[in-house]
């Protein structure tokens, strides 16, 4: 089969409708998000984030790494005691002592993580495939003995030999694991490859799959969606896409992409998205870029005449959802790319009625001003510009008049 035909077949298959009850979000802001180089949350911040995620409607929270001990362990214990609606999961290596630490925290679910790629097995673990499978079997066995929900994380799954990944998944399933986390640890997959690999595991092994994607090439969201389309049922996200290197699939982007691109609504309270993003930004010291998809402060701020004039009358011309849906506001600002419609509307809203001719003159003035100050204009500056334009007109008129007299 030619590749193009294969891709067409995938794309058509990927077009089938998704059902909301089959998709769950497992947020790892508190674990992988905090693992970002340079980011440390205080315990009270962790608890606050957990509460907010739960209130919004997330299904599971990956609360941290119990075996690290100290404050980390304490925070996980406290989160487990919050009596949240969502499941609380602890992250573990494939060793029994890690699972013991999770048990001491009172979590109801554990992730058991181990690499499945030869490159990691040889160069990081310095062990063999057999050793990996044995570790999976023993640790899952042990955790299931305590009635925990068990996710087995195949780290670096994307660079794993498919035959071995299937064996890995089968071992996890037979040992009683509830799901397999497919980790695109380096963010090297594209959506088509993701679809192919995840579908292979789902079809052949028949285990629930969770997508853990990274954004190294800007494809974290697209790959998570591709995984779901291939039959994955969980997605591991972080608020603002926080996470190691280029980060993970952003919680808010994934939710909105599912709702507005794929037509499947998980029913979360999106109105709290901006608030949650702001909180995580403050706690992590990683500000939200103004252009950040879904929650960036500038997303509904319009300057160019083409967009501004359209959205003033018909927001759908450039918006798939309303700013209020995610806790943002719509605004038209005036700058280099502004035109007659935007300036008229702006001055009207500031209490000044202007004619079309005045607006046309003002556009020229405002554009030059914006270029010389290298930014958009504040409302006060727009009013000043308008007033000095008007007084300039008066002076000119009186000059003409006095000229006529003499």
């Amino acid at each position: 089969m030619r590749d193009i035909e294969l891709l067409t077949e995938f794309s058509k298959k990927a077009g089938t409708r998704l059902e909301p009850e089959n998709i769950k979000i497992d947020d790892t802001t508190l674990r992988d998000g905090e693992q970002t180089a340079g980011v440390v949350f205080a315990n009270e911040e962790k608890i606050q984030i957990a509460k907010m995620l739960d209130k919004i409607g997330v299904h599971q929270i990956e609360a941290g790494i119990p075996t690290m001990g100290g404050d980390e362990k304490e925070a996980i214990k406290q989160i487990a005691l919050l009596d949240l609606n969502c499941s609380v999961l602890g992250w573990n290596r494939a060793v029994k002592s890690d699972v013991d630490a999770s048990l001491e925290c009172g979590v109801d679910a554990v992730a058991i993580s181990i690499s499945s790629s030869d490159i990691h097995i040889e160069h990081k673990l310095m062990k063999s495939r057999e050793w990996v499978l044995e570790s999976v079997k023993n640790t899952v066995d042990y955790a299931k003995g305590f009635n925990l929900y068990v996710s087995v994380n195949a780290e670096d799954a994307s660079r794993s030999d498919m035959e071995f990944l299937l064996q890995f998944a089968r071992t996890a399933k037979e040992a009683g694991a509830d799901r397999l986390r497919y980790c695109d640890t380096l963010g090297i997959l594209d959506p088509f490859e993701t679809f192919l690999r995840v579908k292979t595991v789902v079809d052949i092994v028949g285990i629930e799959i969770e997508m853990h994607t990274h954004n190294d090439f800007g494809m974290a969201i697209a790959n998570a969606i591709a995984g779901i389309k291939a039959g994955a049922t969980y997605v591991n996200t972080t608020v603002n896409g926080l996470g190691e290197r280029a980060g993970n699939a952003a919680f808010e982007e994934l939710f909105m992409a599912l709702k507005y691109i794929e037509g499947v609504d998980l029913g979360f309270n999106t109105k709290l998205f901006r608030e949650l993003s702001e909180y995580v930004a403050a706690a992590s010291g990683r500000i939200i870029p103004t252009w950040k998809p879904v929650v960036g402060a500038n997303l509904f701020v319009y300057e160019s005449e083409s967009r501004a004039s359209a959205v003033l009358d018909c927001p759908e011309a450039y918006e798939l959802f309303k700013p209020g849906d995610v806790g943002l506001k719509r605004e038209v600002i005036i700058g280099k790319y502004s035109g007659v419609v935007a300036i008229t509307s702006k001055l009207n809203s500031l209490g000044y009625k202007i004619t079309k001719k005045e607006a046309e003159e003002l556009v020229k003035i405002v554009r030059n001003k914006s270029i010389s100050i290298k930014r958009a204009l504040y409302d006060g500056e727009i009013i000043d510009t308008y007033k000095s334009y008007k007084s300039g007109l008066k002076k000119e008129n009186s000059k003409i008049k006095s000229g006529e007299k003499s």
């Binding site: 590749d3 440390v40 490159i119 600002i333």
Partner: protein
């Protein structure tokens, strides 16, 4: 790996100076525009959209000066479909334009408050104006992903018959995921055989993936901006798609990527839009490793956690010591400082460093590690003296 069989050349057209500047609140100075144009040319970007002549005389002056640089890159001006806009472009010495017009009924009715016939007329008039001035053109269909396919193909036919370079499909509101993008592009191409260019926005974080899906569907040109700046969520980031094409799709465009960080920094400064530290490809954190697992893995072999060398995009690898660090990082860090630690010392210093990082809510500077080491040594000597006494 799935790859597209017939690997044709992929064209890149950068619109940092046009749609990048159209970002609400962003204005480049003339000096900055000239510098950005030069840098794009130097790193090997084949085509650049340098501005919108209809904005004002100052913009036209800048366009003229960029034209006078005589760059190797092919230069385009951006024109909403209106003969007068083409005339203004021509006065700047421009030889190529993008003629843009919305094709979706929603935009035609609610933005233009016109009908399809009006769109066709405007397009034909603009093309005629360009041809009279000997200007070559791309026809750009705004909101193409919400356009009735039949009408879109009609517009595309006009572009083809009138001798456009190619036809631009704009996913103006990020309507599609990569699978739909692929089907859309391959469907259009099977109906009309003509070079396609895609223009994607990032409203749901999928612009790069959509651009790549479009390439797989047969698109031959991509519209990008440095750092992905642009209206709303912005456009496809130049640095992301170039590296994705190279490492995921095995398409090498011959662009000098080692200047990506420098270019990104320049655009970040002149647009007052700082590069997030986690920005894919050019963020400073992309090659910073803190967690024990990752840092240890990278120390053993960078390939454990890196697809390409940091130098390839003008970055450097850093090991950061913080809450998630392991003893291997400590050993390695101190070796860099010229100090060989025993495993026992490394473990004890690690636990001091970790709790300090938790207290300070951040990672530690190299200097701080040295202070920890000194305090630790001092205590140890005192202890030993006590024991001896």
């Amino acid at each position: 790996m799935i790859t597209v069989n017939d690997k044709k050349h992929i064209n890149i057209i950068d619109t940092t100076l046009r749609n990048g500047e159209q970002t609400a609140g962003v204005v480049f100075s003339k000096h900055e525009k000239l510098r950005i144009a030069k840098m794009l040319d130097e790193i090997g970007i084949p085509e650049i959209e340098i501005g919108t002549p209809s904005i004002c005389e100052a913009e036209r002056e800048t366009i003229r000066e960029i034209v006078n640089l005589k760059l190797s890159s092919r230069l385009f001006a951006y024109c909403e479909a209106e003969p007068q806009n083409i005339q203004l472009a021509s006065e700047c010495g421009i030889k190529n334009v993008v003629i843009n017009i919305s094709t979706s009924d929603l935009h035609i009715k609610r933005k233009y408050k016109k009908n399809r016939t009006w769109v066709i007329r405007k397009l034909r008039e603009s093309i005629r104006a360009a041809q009279q001035k000997n200007i070559n053109f791309i026809v750009s269909a705004e909101d193409a992903t919400r356009t009735d396919l039949e009408f879109l193909l009609k517009v595309m036919h006009i572009a083809k018959n009138k001798g456009a370079y190619r036809f631009r499909i704009c996913d103006t509101v990020s309507r599609y995921d990569p699978f739909r993008t692929f089907l859309n592009i391959s469907t259009i191409l099977s109906a009309v055989n003509f070079p396609l260019e895609v223009y994607n926005h990032n409203d749901f974080g999928m612009s790069t993936a959509n651009a790549m899906a479009a390439v797989r569907g047969g698109a031959s040109s991509l519209v990008v901006t440095v750092n992905g700046i642009g209206e709303g969520t912005g456009n496809v980031a130049l640095e992301e798609i170039v590296m994705a094409l190279k490492y995921i799709e095995n398409i090498e465009l011959g662009i000098n990527t080692s200047r990506f960080r420098e270019l990104s920094e320049y655009v970040a400064r002149s647009s007052a839009r700082a590069i997030p530290v986690w920005k894919a490809i050019v963020g400073t954190n992309v090659f910073a490793h803190e967690s024990g697992i990752h840092a240890d893995g990278v120390l053993k072999n960078p390939k454990n956690y890196e697809v390409f060398e940091p130098g390839e995009v003008g970055l450097t690898r850093q090991l950061v010591v913080g809450k998630h660090s392991g003893s291997h990082t400590i050993l390695h860090k101190f070796k860099e400082f010229g100090i060989d630690l025993t495993d026992k010392d490394a473990n004890e210093i690690l636990s001091i460093a970790r709790s300090m990082a938790v207290d300070l809510k951040r990672t530690l500077f190299d200097k701080e590690l040295i202070y920890i080491y000194r305090d630790y040594k001092e205590k140890k000597i005192k202890k030993e003296e006590k024991a001896e006494a």
